[in-house]
């Protein structure tokens, strides 16, 4: 039995403490509904428990494995919701939210929460709000060149934070 496998209920509790917050955050982001997000997290840990012996820490982290499971759970729940009476249509598959995009969006949002305030702020002002460097520089009381270098260091920090939470190009 590989070390780190989810073989005991205690392992599941530990995995829950370590990862449930992120899993819930991703499920909320993708499903947009607290009840469904809870259901997704519960189903993820149940599936993880059932397949616990197949988890091999040599291959990847527990976190990566749980995210692979919740990705499928969210797809299933999204389809189930799309097929509920009232919204049921032909072509259920097509109405499913693109899961890869919602995973990427969630990863960026999570990474943004992990980088420093200064880094996040410079990206919000210049990229998301599209404000000119000169204006941002005046606001922050720094030279324009510093705005530019901050954008660079913020992107580096964002990239590292993304990689830490499993982002791959």
């Amino acid at each position: 039995m590989p070390a780190g496998a989810l073989n005991r209920e205690r392992d599941v509790r530990e995995a829950y403490s370590a990862h449930a917050g992120e899993l819930y955050g991703f499920a909320m982001r993708s499903l947009g509904d607290a009840g469904l997000a809870e259901e997704a997290v519960q189903e993820t840990f149940l599936r993880a428990w059932r397949a616990g012996k197949r988890f091999d820490p040599e291959i990847g982290s527990l976190r990566t494995w749980l995210f692979a499971i919740i990705r499928n759970v969210v797809i299933d729940l999204g389809r189930a919701r799309a097929a509920r009476p009232g919204v049921a249509k032909e072509g259920i598959e097509a109405s499913v939210e693109p899961i890869e995009e919602s995973l990427l969006a969630w990863q960026v949002e999570e990474a943004m929460r992990r980088i420093g305030d200064q880094h996040r702020r410079i990206l919000v002002e210049t990229y998301y709000r599209g404000r000119p460097y000169a204006e941002v520089a005046a606001d922050l009381g720094i030279p324009v060149g510093t705005v530019k270098s901050r954008v660079y260091y913020a992107l580096r920090a964002l990239r590292i934070a993304l990689e830490e939470i499993g982002y791959e190009d």
Partner: protein, 224 residues
Amino acid sequence: MKTDNCREWRESLGAYALGQLGDDERHRLDAHLEGCPECRAELEQLSALSHPMSLADPARFEATPTPPPSLAAQVAAAVGAERRRERRRRTGFGLAFGGAAAAVATVLVLLVLPGEEAPGPEEHVDFGSLPGKVKISAKLIPNSFGTEIHMYVKGVSSGTLCRVYLRSRSGETLSAGTFRYRWGDGSYPILSSALDLSKTDAMEVRVGRHAYFARVGGPEQDET
């Protein structure tokens, strides 16, 4: 070629990757990139972020949703129920094949189980005769977290997505999860719903695009 002023160029790469450089500066940086593979590699890494960044919603950068504290207990209860079920299934399997060790294990489990589980009246739900030789039945077991559902499905294509819902007397419908029916697989899906069995009025199973209903605690069933 990496030069002493590489750092200066590098600090412009973020602005370049996000399309924030003016034309003049971009042309000068292009000339540097032409001869500097390190800066090109760095630019590639940063440029890869522009698509994911475009998907993100800055309104979500500050607050992170947290799961309700009760979810930990729900998950623990669901996993605990699953563990007990696995044990019952294993011992059932052992008896069927007549192993002496398994028989001993069964006796032990029979001794241990009654104290561990709160026995309640189970409900057997049969969906009756359905079109196209489809057969569906379920066993519903009351549990502290809600209702545990053992599903039996036959006569549908392998790989068909099945979705299960329970409806309460007050008309609220709660999902009990999903599974895929597989041919030749002796296992059966075990699902759970937060709805108490005592409050459950009906059950709905959606098999592919067909929906089947059965009253819980009664023989009526219909199809839409």
